[in-house]
Symmetry: C2
Subunit: 442 residues, 2 copies
């Protein structure tokens, strides 16, 4: 039912069919359709080899482990699991999270300083809510996680990327970027970093760099938000201890069960300095009252009953094989391209020749039944055109090989065309008949 005559609607209304167009908060301007959204849609079609999404291989989790956790939960804690809980999360799971974090070198934490969340993204959202005013700046790796950039944008903050190399963030680049921004009177609120197997770059920050980055941040009084969903999923050597293990006051640490158990249960956690943690609990309550007690108890029973470390080791074996398969297929088909074979995580970041535009090329790839994520998703500033993120977590080694072969058809076809037409980048609209990906990968 449209109201057709009301001054309160403002002048914009005529341009839009949405009667509430003039009512939205300013922050909705930062809510652009994220590429994460489209990934789900593309990846779900079975004929497409999905190198796009970051969905873990949950079929590798023996169902009896979940069954048995469920039965034990219902037997011992049924009514509690079905009831509301506190905003901080149930104490039992927070105690067990201490054991998980100890594997990352974090041994001085207290369960009191942990807040459980609806997945790690919720932790990111809450940290953003607590710290980001419109116009503030977050520093991040270059490239960085698409979902984090989106969340910062939803709080009307800008992400500014800091250069990294194969050892991780470059401390002098961090310092220079920070000084430059401050000299421009920008307010920089925190450094967002994924030291272990950066999404999408796959790179790992060295121990030395962790110390150096921390030193810069301490000196400059810059909070570090350390996001560590992949730390236990290393395939060659164990990564250095978390930055949080070096400092309890300068770091907010985000962890997740999505990659070592299941993303469907949406259980993540934040370890924060005491004063921040207090505010986090209030922010969690204000956003969802309490994280799901049902899922917290389920994960708690899983951790208690299952040999979860063995399960993580099993995941490592599966993903190592897949990483190797993707790496080998890339070496076979693209010997001239540049990438780093990652020591862990889910992704290979493939650098393309300058004349190829990964976003532009995506419709052709989907037509060839292979999907990837264009590099631009991982930059707030339009960079990344000549790169793509290839996920090896979702598909089998055989399907990974098939996917790369299809990708080679697309890329070689594109390169042939470019050669024929004198090396000009292809920027034309896709021809009719091309299967278009969902509108928001574009």
């Amino acid at each position: 039912m449209l109201v057709t005559n009301n001054a309160a609607r403002g002048p914009e209304t005529g341009r839009n069919l949405d009667p509430w167009y003039s009512s939205y908060a300013d922050r909705t301007k930062g809510l652009a359709a994220s590429e994460v959204r489209a990934l789900f849609a593309v990846a779900s079609r079975p004929e497409v080899v999905s190198l796009a999404g970051g969905s873990p291989f949950v079929k590798a989790l023996p169902e009896e482990l979940i069954d048995s956790a469920f039965r034990s939960m219902m037997r011992e804690h049924g009514p509690e699991a079905l009831q509301y809980g506190g905003g901080q999360g149930i104490p039992q799971i927070r105690e067990q999270i201490l054991d998980i974090m100890a594997l990352e070198g974090i041994t001085d934490a207290s369960a009191d300083d942990i807040v459980t969340t609806t997945g790690s993204q919720h932790g990111l959202d809450i940290v953003s809510k607590l710290f980001l005013n419109p116009g503030d700046v977050v520093l991040a790796e270059s490239p960085s996680y698409v979902g984090a950039i989106g969340t910062f944008r939803a709080y009307e903050a800008d992400t500014v990327h800091v250069e990294m190399d194969e050892h991780g963030l470059i401390p002098s680049a961090l310092e220079e970027t920070l000084h430059r921004l401050r000299s421009e009177c920008r307010v920089v609120k925190f450094l967002y970093t994924i030291p272990n197997f950066n999404n999408p770059a796959g790179s790992m920050m060295t121990a030395e760099r962790r110390h150096e980055i921390l030193e810069v941040c301490r000196r400059e009084h810059l909070l570090i938000v350390e996001d560590n969903p992949y730390g236990l999923l290393y395939y060659d050597e164990q990564p250095p201890h978390a930055i949080r293990s070096l400092d309890s006051e300068n770091v907010v640490y985000l962890g997740s069960f999505s990659k070592i158990l299941s993303p469907g249960v949406r259980v993540g956690y934040v370890l924060a300095p005491h004063a921040i943690r207090e505010k986090m609990i209030l922010a969690v309550e204000s956003s969802i009252l309490s994280p799901s007690t049902f899922n917290q108890w389920l994960v708690n029973e899983y951790l208690k009953q299952a040999d979860w470390k063995a399960q993580v080791a099993a995941y490592r074996d599966i993903y190592r094989e897949r990483r190797d398969a993707l790496d080998a297929a890339l070496r076979e088909h693209f010997p001239q391209f540049v990438w780093e074979k990652p020591n862990g995580g889910f992704f290979i970041w493939l650098q393309l020749p300058e004349q190829l535009d990964a976003k532009q090329m995506l419709p052709r790839a989907v037509k060839e039944l292979v999907a990837y994520t264009p590099g631009t998703a991982f930059y707030a500033d339009g960079r990344g055109q000549h790169a793509m993120r290839l996920a090896f977590c979702t598909e089998t080694p055989e399907r990974l090989a098939t996917g790369v072969r299809r990708l080679a058809t697309v890329i070689n076809g594109e390169l042939d065309l470019l050669e024929t037409f004198g090396g000009l980048p292809m920027r034309s609209r896709p021809e009719s008949g091309v299967i278009m990906p969902p509108p928001d990968i574009n």
Copy 2:
């Protein structure tokens, strides 16, 4: 690790031990410790009769219904349930939600316009995120839900209460309040209403009032956010159809499984006009990526397999008995006090004599092993001192009677004192030896 010499920290730092004190976003000023939080703590001590929290009686849910939903979910949809899902929620549960909403008279909705959320509070949070700029106004009943007031405050918006009577919100009062605020150049973004069994007042908006309130809102181009967690929990007569059943463009409708199934699974939903829904999905993704697929599948299988309408009827019988028990106990002990016996929901709103202050009296009540929620929690403007919310959802009829008897001891003691000392309200600090409630009920 405290940094002791850094200009960027600002002048406030000396006043605070939190090294990040000067870094917080402006909106954190609105994140006050909510009384909801303390309710969990108080209610969890078994010796205390809790008339405070709004926890449903989940023990009335036969465990085999959850067991069987779980088994069917794992059998049919295991890997999907453990995996990420889309930001809008799984299509299957959205289809079934149509059947639930049909019971409230909503028959023109499409599953496409539903977004599932991490409980209904998450829906409130997302609506607030989409509409509220700092300084905006939300209109709400008088009194209104503490969690909603808190969420609006977290977005730096002000809640202004509109008078209500036994038929619900008063349309002329809504119009006058709106005109007054607009004449003061305040931007009013929406009306937040709980037409069925308002939390805390227990009152039900009549059918006529629903039409009138909608007419005012249409005429004034004011969005309605209709929160309906209790609509199916009526004890005498079925309430009128939802406001949303009368208008699909002017209403955002919030529903929840917390009261008819389990709050622990945190599954709620929003039915929104098309353009708003699109933005909601983006806001959900930005805050949590996707609601728990595990819990959505579980609820989906429950709805498919269990006779959930019979279960709702069973809840009605249980809560009706409890409402009657609380009402009878109040009639026995407080024949001179004023309250309305509610037709549904979880609460009785007890008006106290002017000389009694419910918040002031709470420590004595907790000492006597009975807890309630002081009326001030449900007002953004300090009103409600002479009222308390009594929940009949959590305790058995026997415990409810015990609770009211204990409450009578406290109230009569207080009234005796007042009489002895000439009717002056007691405002002194509690004596030492009084068991204090958690610091945030104060």
